[in-house]
């Protein structure tokens, strides 16, 4: 571990901390309706789509609108992929995508997962990428943000039947947040050397004299939204390890910041809109602490490398000239600190963009990436999704520990009663179910085992990672598993849809239930949610709940592998 590495960690923390406040203020303006710079465009959209922007939807209508929008746009993508061969902007003449693959991909982009079990450059036409994926990159991110905004309204309003208007939230999130941010970032990326072209692939001769086809494409525009919308789907199969996607150390740093920007801003927006800025910062700090712990553990594990290598006399100590540690699957351009940092952030924040191959991490480094997702998108998490997942954890924490102060549980003036607990429990149940059930099935059924490249605990880690990533709408992969089979395509598609929409509906229900309530005024008898103690408590509940659920599976996967590697066995 080097000073340079830790400086990168510190620099990221400081940058995100500094950007949280302005981003939060911006989000407050967007979702409370006070921003109106593009009012003419907004009004035009509402007129064309026949939306009444003043209609305040109860949670059932909000959920209905959200689901309708998602289902329709997913069907549209499925059709475009199936009809790809007949559609324009297809210089490589790529054919129709197979049905199960098209279903999985449509589900993947609609759910903000961007799980790609195909090589983008050789499967998807420019038309598919530009009209469908870029559209979903924006729309799915705006959907996640809308649900979070609705939850914030539920917590902050009193005696209100409505939690906002989905269509308005969708349009405003796109118009005022995602598009401008992507535009600026895309320009910076282009300036740094990310390509943006509709040119056909370039054939080049390498130094060794071999002919190589260099895939090209409109990369920078997709790159920007891939990161700010915590989508993660790369233009190229190599994702952000590809120099056309992520050309310089600066773009690498900006990519990590871009992943965290909106999720971090949401904590600030939340704190402000629920009139408890301190509570917002407590959430931020809990996320930050969990991120730091994961990052440090991953960095430690990767920097110390593989004990089997060390035993054979390989120099694993990092210096200014030797990356040291475990460099398998990592870009030499980025080295260990930038790779572990990227891996930690991308799994914590549900992005799924990668600049190194997580499958090649040491067992403990791999464990961190998996656990980050399994904790439930609460470490900054996806745009919007991070906040609402964290609030769900807070509800459970407040309920479990809140009783200890001698009052029925109360959160920011709202009573947590049977029906609130009901939806929070449902939310907490769906996620592990979506991961563990298909993992267990795939671990014993021939259809599941057929795709495995590695045996032993590492093979199990690959299956577990895949379902963790899809259920958590992350999209990154342990590459050892070839997910292109009908079995996996279908399961992944279903798991992604479950991990997204089956969890969003309870969130909206909670928003509705809380919004209907009045507000109990604070007193010194109220359960405190703005203290360090609460932060510690929240971390404990997140850790214990995550550990309770996934510890057995992890013990048989990365943990077992860790001890076996230390004993000299590799997989």
């Amino acid at each position: 571990m080097t000073t340079n590495g830790w400086v990168q960690f510190g620099l990221l923390g400081m940058t995100v901390a500094l950007l949280t406040r302005p981003t939060g203020a911006w989000l407050v303006g967007v979702y409370s309706g006070s921003f109106g710079a593009l009012g003419f465009a907004e009004r035009a959209i509402y007129r064309v789509m026949r939306i009444d922007p003043n209609q305040d939807q109860p949670w059932t209508r909000y959920a209905e609108a959200m689901l309708t929008f998602s289902v329709v746009s997913m069907l549209m993508t499925y059709l475009v992929l199936r009809l790809q061969g007949m559609l324009p902007l297809n210089p490589q003449h790529l054919g129709a995508v197979a049905p199960s693959q098209a279903f999985e991909t449509a589900a993947s982009f609609t759910t903000n997962t961007n799980w790609q079990s195909y090589a983008g450059e050789s499967t998807m036409s420019y038309f598919s990428q530009l009209t469908q994926f870029t559209f979903h990159n924006v729309a799915s991110a705006a959907t996640g943000m809308a649900v979070a905004a609705a939850l914030v309204r539920g917590v902050s309003r009193k005696g209100s039947a409505g939690i906002g208007n989905f269509w308005v939230d969708l349009v405003r999130g796109t118009l005022y947040v995602l598009l401008p941010l992507s535009l600026v970032l895309a320009l910076v990326f282009v300036q740094q050397g990310t390509i943006q072209t509709l040119q056909t692939p370039v054939v080049a001769t390498t130094l060794e004299g071999v002919t190589q086809t260099l895939a090209m494409g409109p990369v920078a525009s997709q790159e920007a939204i891939k990161l700010v919308g915590t989508n993660g789907g790369g233009f190229f199969n190599a994702n952000s390890a590809h120099p056309f996607e992520n050309p310089t150390p600066l773009t690498n740093f900006l990519q990590i910041v871009a992943i965290l920007l909106i999720p971090a801003g949401f904590t600030r927006m939340y704190g402000r809109l629920v009139s408890s800025p301190r509570h917002g910062w407590v959430l931020w700090s809990v996320m930050g602490l969990l991120l730091t712990a994961g990052g440090a553990a991953s960095y430690y594990a990767e920097a110390h490398g593989n004990p089997v290598h060390a035993a054979r006399g390989v120099d694993v100590v990092g210096t200014a000239t030797n990356p040291g540690g475990n460099m398998e699957g990592k870009e030499v351009r980025f080295g260990i600190p930038s790779s572990t940092l990227y891996a930690t952030v991308t799994t914590a924040a549900s992005s799924g963009a990668v600049n190194s191959m997580h499958d090649s991490f040491t067992p403990l480094g791999g464990l961190v990436t998996m656990l980050n997702i399994q904790l439930g998108e609460v470490i900054f998490g996806g745009v919007g999704a991070g906040l609402y997942s964290m609030v769900m954890m807070v509800i459970l924490t407040v309920f479990i520990a809140g009783l200890m102060v001698g009052r029925t549980p109360e959160y920011l003036g709202k009573k947590i009663r049977a029906r609130e607990v009901q939806v929070a429990s449902l939310y907490a149940l769906i996620f592990p179910a979506a991961i563990l059930v298909p993992t267990a099935a795939s671990a014993v059924l021939p259809q599941g085992l057929a795709g495995l490249a590695n045996a032993g605990p590492h093979g199990l880690s690959e299956i577990l990672y895949a379902f963790t990533s899809t259920a958590g709408n992350n999209g990154s992969a342990f590459a050892g598993l070839s997910g292109g089979s009908t079995w996996y395509n279908t399961l992944f598609g279903l798991v992604m849809l479950t991990g997204r929409f089956a969890m969003m509906v309870p969130v909206l229900a909670l928003a509705g239930f809380l919004g209907e309530q009045g507000r109990v005024p604070d007193s010194s008898g109220t359960f405190p949610v703005t203290t360090v103690l609460f932060g510690v408590l929240l971390i404990s509940v997140i850790a214990i709940l995550g550990a309770l659920t996934f510890f057995p599976a992890l013990a048989l996967g990365p943990v077992a592998e860790h001890y076996l590697v230390n004993a000299g066995r590799l997989f």
Partner: protein
């Protein structure tokens, strides 16, 4: 209320043991999802044990499975026992109450105006609306309203209070309870409750916990625990295929053991006991809660509305000083005050007599030709007329009007004096005299300063409430000046002066509109609407039937300050639930470290590094965890019944303390406990 004495405790425990087995009936197990899972697990393990014993498959170890099965059944029984013990205390009290419900003869009247014309009927034939007459020595046959007569009644059967109380027609002391005994005089009572629905019947049902419904928070907690249990079932069920992938087969009893250890059995097993014990603690305070919901609400109370008189202050005012005006000698004022009050039997009157004697050395005047004028609401004065003079004492404006009517003059300093006493929270009582005879002059002699006496210790109690975040509001009919002075002396946070009955209701509603939960006490019929509106309404047992119907709790001792204890019991109940939930969940960390390495010892021996407790073997690790899990329920029964200690402190302080104790304890204790049990099992060669 009579509480079972020590020898009865053995009987309670015996009854609870029997009940614990009876509760194994699936119908009662169904109430509790967490324990139902343990129950099914125990059944499954027993069936598998029987199979092993019958067919001797090669890989079975019946001794281990048998021990597992036994401890799983113990886990269920311990939880049932906890509930039975909690209920048992109520049952013992119900028995005592039932003894006073013996069938009695009632003297029924056809015409309530003719109490001599009665005939005997059995008490269980009395219908609502019947009239009965009760003579000394009669046990009152049913709940009712006194329509005629005054009598002293022994209510000790209900309240445990041996001092008899007065019951009379009209006003706020007209309600009588079946099962109580008339000691003197007679009462004509209109029966207000049919057979089986009397107060005593309801009370027996309440203390017995019959038909107990889950309270809202208990329901919410049950949902959470069920959710957690489902998640853990998922975890354990999917572990089997994952283990198969790793090349090992997990025996079903081992999976059951893991599941039972992980699901929140500690809180699941004790949850209903905590709720019942909370009601029971209230009963020990002689407060009957009509629903568990009210007890829970008590913990949430933000605002306490307290009547000034009788709650914050002693019911009566005391004379503290005399202030002569217009150059009158203070001893003369004392003498006149004494003679005017000599026949006044009210506590105020007696305190004036006492003051005149002790401080001014006045002697009781000899009984002469004295005409006593008792206090009347129309004149708002009292006094005497004798041979020499007439003396009047009363409210300032009433007495000055009397002086003016008789052509007297008012001393100029009187007004200021009266106001200064009122401002200080006192009640000024003006004394005036009119000399008889030809030149009979009329003059104001001075002012008696009567003062409300704040009960001892009230200030400290309000401070404790404030520390818990509860605001107290004093309600009084006094003018704002007086009210403010007493409020500041008693240390309440706010007051409502010149309150009429309907103002109380308005205040309750106003507080609730702001999202606050309100608790209040009341006894009069005009309190009933506010009692019904309040979240916690404690009716005094001495109060009217209407008040008792409206409130959701009844204080048998009729002590209005009891509200404070009620709030504390409510808080304690919720705290105990939270503490045991936290403890239960924190326990799982140690259990994972005990069981998981044990399960995969053969496949991945390297996982033995996770066996940080260095437990003897796989079987001993699993068995120790299950035994710890069962024993911890027994160990925590006293805490569940007694409740977590509640302290008057802000939520943040309480949280820190309970979190360290029950969260930290929950993490550490099982590591030590499981290790100790493991050592014991090894020493006894049980594994």
């Amino acid at each position: 209320m009579p509480t079972p004495s020590d020898p009865a405790r053995g009987a309670v425990a015996r009854r609870a043991l029997r009940e614990a087995v009876v509760k194994l009936h699936p119908r009662s197990m169904r109430q509790n999802p967490v324990m139902l899972v343990v129950y099914v697990g125990a059944l499954l393990t027993t069936v598998l044990l029987a199979r092993d014993l019958a067919f001797h498959p090669g890989d079975s170890s019946p001794a281990f499975t048998a021990q597992l099965a036994i401890w799983l059944w113990f886990t269920v029984l311990f939880a049932n026992f906890a509930e039975a013990v909690a209920e048992g205390r109520g049952k013992a009290q119900a028995d005592t109450l039932r003894a006073s419900r013996t069938r009695t003869r009632a003297r029924k009247l056809d015409d309530p105006t003719q109490p001599d014309h009665y005939y005997y009927v059995s008490s269980n034939e009395l219908e609502r609306g019947d009239f009965i007459v009760c003579l000394p020595g009669d046990v009152i046959a049913g709940d009712g309203e006194v329509v005629a007569g005054v009598a002293s009644v022994d209510e000790s059967a209900i309240t445990g209070e041996s001092a008899p109380v007065v019951r009379e027609s009209g006003g706020d002391r007209s309600a009588v309870t079946g099962g109580t005994k008339v000691l003197s005089d007679f009462l004509v009572v209109r029966i207000t409750a049919g057979p089986g629905e009397t107060f005593l019947d309801r009370m027996i049902a309440l203390v017995e916990g019959a038909g107990r419904q889950k309270t809202p928070n208990e329901l919410a907690l049950t949902i959470l625990l069920a959710g957690l249990t489902l998640i853990l079932i998922l975890t354990v069920v999917t572990l089997e295929p994952l283990a198969r992938y790793a090349g090992t087969r997990l025996a079903v009893p081992v999976l059951v053991a893991l599941l039972v250890c992980l699901i929140p059995t500690t809180i699941g097993g004790l949850l209903s006991a905590i709720g019942i014990a909370g009601m029971d603690r209230l009963i020990r305070q002689n407060v009957i809660a009509m629903s568990g919901r009210a007890v829970e609400a008590a913990g949430d109370v933000d605002t306490l509305l307290l009547d000034k008189t009788g709650t914050i202050t002693l019911g009566n005012r005391h004379a503290v000083s005399l202030h002569p005006v217009g150059g009158v000698d203070d001893h003369y004022l004392a003498a006149c005050a004494l003679s005017a009050s000599n026949a006044d039997e009210t506590p105020e009157g007696r305190s004036i007599v006492a003051l005149a004697r002790s401080r001014y050395g006045q002697k009781t005047p000899s009984e002469g030709d004295v005409r006593v004028l008792p206090f009347s609401a129309s004149t708002r004065m009292s006094g005497i007329d004798d041979e020499v003079h007439s003396v009047r004492k009363g409210a300032g404006d009433a007495v000055t009007r009397w002086v003016r009517e008789h052509g007297g003059l008012i001393a100029p300093e009187l007004q200021a004096l009266v106001e200064s006493i009122a401002r200080g929270g006192g009640t000024p009582l003006v004394v005036a005299e009119r000399l008889h005879g030809v030149n009979g002059s009329v003059r104001v002699l001075g002012v008696i300063h009567l003062k409300d006496v704040v009960k001892a210790g009230m200030r400290e109690r309000f401070e404790r409430l404030r520390a818990m975040g509860i605001r107290t509001v004093m309600i009084t009919g006094d003018n704002p000046l007086t009210a403010a002075a007493i409020a500041s002396e008693a240390g309440v946070d706010d007051f409502l002066a010149e309150a009429r009955p309907e103002d109380k209701m308005a205040l309750v509603k106003r507080e609730q509109l702001g999202g606050r939960l309100v608790a209040m006490t009341g006894d009069g019929t005009n309190d009933a609407p506010a009692l019904a509106q309040a979240d916690v309404g404690v009716a005094m047992n001495s109060g009217t039937q209407a008040a008792k119907e409206a409130g959701n709790m009844i204080d048998l001792e009729s002590n209005p300050t009891k509200l404070i204890e009620v709030v504390e019991v409510g808080k304690q109940l919720l705290m105990t639930r939270g503490a045991l939930t936290t403890f239960s969940i924190a326990n799982d960390v140690a259990k994972y470290f005990a069981i998981l390495p044990a399960m995969f010892l053969t496949t991945y021996p390297a996982l033995a590094s996770l066996n940080i407790m260095r437990l003897h073997s796989g079987n001993s690790a699993i068995l120790s965890s299950v035994i710890f899990n069962a024993l911890v329920i027994i160990a925590l029964i006293p805490l569940a019944l007694r409740g977590v200690r509640s302290r008057p402190a802000p939520a943040s302080v309480i949280l820190r303390r309970n979190l360290v104790l029950y969260g930290g304890g929950g993490l550490i204790v099982p590591f030590a406990g499981i290790k100790l049990i493991d050592m014991a099992l090894v020493a006894m060669h049980l594994v």
